[in-house]
């Protein structure tokens, strides 16, 4: 009963908070006030129920026998099997792969186009996952590297008539270069300073593109960027979309493969160690500057790479595709998926792009939900939906086979 009372108070408090903004809307031209009391009722009801549910949940988990702190310590059985039992996860992976490859034959071209976008964001998520998830460097301007890749292709194409395939690696390298450029001076900084500097960097890139008409075609954007070419063949729009789809699938698979390899390598472990405790990591002989820079450059590389693909898919790029909202979107993928978890980030990227696309009513609330999700994840499940599992290693006696 006390809980209900408290929740009631919470509901009333939020009704009070939202009163001026949600219930009132003034029209400053006609000088009329519109009262929307119903909104307030919803807020009160919603927060009341939420607060009650939370309180009950908390009460229940307190009354249960004390479990260990944190996630992943008491891994549920099914997850244990999903990630460590080859006979379980191998077929699942193969099925997922088959579905991905066959999908374009089942859906129409419009859907494929959306899937391409979703997969582009998968690669972005995986790239940012290296920087934020593994190395623990909060980057709020990640989309800038994506922009660098996209503009690299567009400009090389206009000025030097370079094709997609020549631009692809160059876009990646340009991304990595900018990663080093911004990373070099600021990596000594503490984490939160880094966050704000990257935020600034992201904004600067966008403002510069927007205002430099001569170099970057400014706020008009760049149109007529060629789609990816296939051995000089003339592809119809549908064929080209299909081709782009397989390209981005290949790129996403490559990104998954590479980050998976890196995660459990000497370098990947060093990144995680730096994330966990910088001072201890350095005392263990890890070269902080080198490791952080490599994480930064490598994460930016993927953004640059997939930026080229983005430009080729859209055939039109514009500075407004590269705002803070996009950076925040990619960041929420990493946060939602579980920092460092490859499966999690991949799934989160798909969900966050596809869900608003198919639930049009939701699209409006997208950013609101992302923001809410980031807070809720940090408060309730800081390790993400799928917390990163660490690899097990066999002991010396059992030679050969590992994993």
């Amino acid at each position: 009963m006390r809980l209900v009372g408290r929740s009631l108070l919470v509901g009333l408090w939020f009704m009070f908070l939202t009163l001026p903004l949600l219930a009132v809307r003034v029209n400053t031209i006609t000088e009329t006030v519109e009262w929307r009391w119903l909104n307030l009722v919803w807020v009160g009801l919603g927060t009341f129920i939420l607060s009650l549910a939370l309180a009950l949940w908390r009460q229940r988990s307190e009354s249960q026998p004390q479990r260990d702190d944190g996630e992943g310590d008491i891994t549920p059985r099914w997850r244990e099997r999903l990630f460590h039992d080859q006979t379980v996860y191998r077929p699942l992976l193969i099925m997922a792969l088959l579905a991905t490859l066959l999908l374009p034959w089942l859906v129409d071209i419009y859907q494929i186009n959306i899937l391409v976008l979703a997969l582009i964001f998968v690669v972005l998520g995986l790239g940012l996952n290296i920087i934020v998830g593994l190395a623990g460097l909060l980057d709020l301007g990640y989309i800038a590297f994506f922009a660098v890749g996209a503009y690299t292709y567009a400009l090389l194409n206009i000025n030097l008539d370079l094709g997609f395939w020549a631009a692809l690696p160059l876009g990646g390298l340009a991304g990595a270069f900018f990663g080093l450029l911004i990373g070099f001076p600021v990596l000594r900084l503490r984490g939160d300073y880094l966050a704000i500097v990257t935020l600034g960097f992201g904004s600067i890139v966008k403002i510069v593109i927007e205002n430099e008409d001569e170099l970057f075609y400014g706020a008009m954007g760049i149109a007529d960027i060629p789609r990816p070419g296939l051995l000089g063949l003339d592809l119809s729009l549908d064929q080209s979309t299909l081709y782009t789809y397989y390209l981005v699938v290949a790129l996403a698979l490559l990104a998954i493969f590479v980050t998976n390899r890196l995660k459990d390598s000497r370098l990947g472990r060093a990144w995680i160690a730096l994330r966990e405790d910088e001072i201890a990591a350095v005392a263990m002989g890890i070269d902080m500057a080198k490791c952080k820079l490599s994480a930064y450059a490598f994460g930016a590389f993927w953004a640059g790479l997939v930026g080229v693909l983005f430009a080729a898919r859209n055939t039109f790029i514009h500075p407004n595709s590269f705002t803070f909202a996009e950076s925040a979107l990619v960041l929420s993928m990493v946060v939602l998926g579980g920092m460092g978890s490859i499966v999690g980030v991949t799934l989160a990227a798909l969900i966050l792009v596809l869900l608003p696309e198919y639930l049009q009513g939701l699209a409006e609330y997208r950013m609101l939900v992302f923001g809410g999700v980031m807070v809720a994840m940090m408060v309730f499940r800081p390790h993400g939906l799928i917390s990163p599992s660490r690899r097990r290693y066999t002991r010396p006696q059992a030679q050969g086979e590992e994993g």
């Binding site: 000497r266 201890a280 350095v282 002989g285 890890i286």
Partner: protein, 261 residues
């Protein structure tokens, strides 16, 4: 030539002199203790030696058994570790979200070389190196008695377990000198006894020298070949445990403090 030779080390923080003209040496195979009341500057001294602070005066020279004499003051911590000094921390600093084994594997970082490309392609060279890293790490876990929790997250270990894991992680860097910052802090008598044995065994089996900061007097007296005593940033005594025990300045500064309490 001493393994570690510190001459007139000084460390100033603004106007405060935390370490004042301290000299200290560690010979091959020795266990040397650095003791003193809280705030005497022991950990600051450690931090200077291991490169976390750049000392404002004096010099630190190492002469590794295999390797060249080198001045190390002012080097970055990772360079110092690469040269063969490894440390543990007074307030335990593990990598909580990594497994126990992976914590030790981090120690191998400076003794292995894998490029970004090597890690992605995972060629035979890389695989051999990984295997070697894993094997060494398991061996060290066995030595400190943590073999059966190798796959646990480091944050789930007991306090004593975490301290021992720090030692294993430090050993993985192949040091010739191990610096332990209050390894027995927070341990019960049983654990302290085991730690005593472990330290001696490490010295004998790994063939390295040990410099430790410790407050547990029985442990220090029992373990050390030589003892240095610091107070208010200055060195006030040095000698064998026997000499230290009967040194009037030490009794006044250090043991006397216990009488007051």
């Amino acid at each position: 030539m001493a393994l570690l030779q510190v001459e007139n080390l000084c460390m100033d923080f603004g106007g405060l002199r935390a370490v004042d003209q301290v000299s200290l040496s560690v010979e091959d195979g020795e266990i040397v203790a650095l003791i003193g009341p809280n705030g005497a500057g022991k950990t600051t001294f450690f931090n200077c030696v291991t490169g976390h602070y750049a000392p404002t005066g004096g010099e630190i020279v190492i002469s590794p058994p295999q390797g060249e004499r080198a001045r190390i003051d002012g080097l970055k911590p990772n360079r110092v570790t690469a040269l063969g000094l490894a440390r543990t921390f007074q307030n335990i600093r593990l990598f909580p979200a990594m497994t126990v084994l992976e914590n030790v594997m981090i120690g191998r970082h400076c003794r292995t070389r894998t490029s970004l490309l090597g890690a992605i392609l995972r060629g035979p060279g890389t695989r051999r190196q990984e295997r070697e890293t894993i094997d060494t790490s398991y061996r060290l876990l066995e030595k400190v008695g943590l073999l059966d929790v190798a796959d646990e997250f480091a944050r789930n270990l007991s306090y004593g377990g975490q301290r021992r894991l720090e030692i294993a992680r430090a050993l993985a860097t192949d040091p010739f000198l191990l610096l332990l910052d209050e390894p027995a802090a927070g341990m019960n008598p049983q654990e302290t006894r085991e730690l005593d044995e472990l330290i001696v065994r490490i010295r004998d089996e790994e063939g390295l020298a040990i410099l430790l900061i410790e407050h547990d007097m029985p442990l220090v007296m029992n373990l050390s070949d030589r003892i240095y005593v610091m107070e208010y940033g200055c060195k006030i005594a040095e000698g064998t445990p026997q000499q230290i025990r009967s040194n009037p300045r030490v009794i006044k500064a250090y043991l006397g403090e216990q009488d007051d309490a």
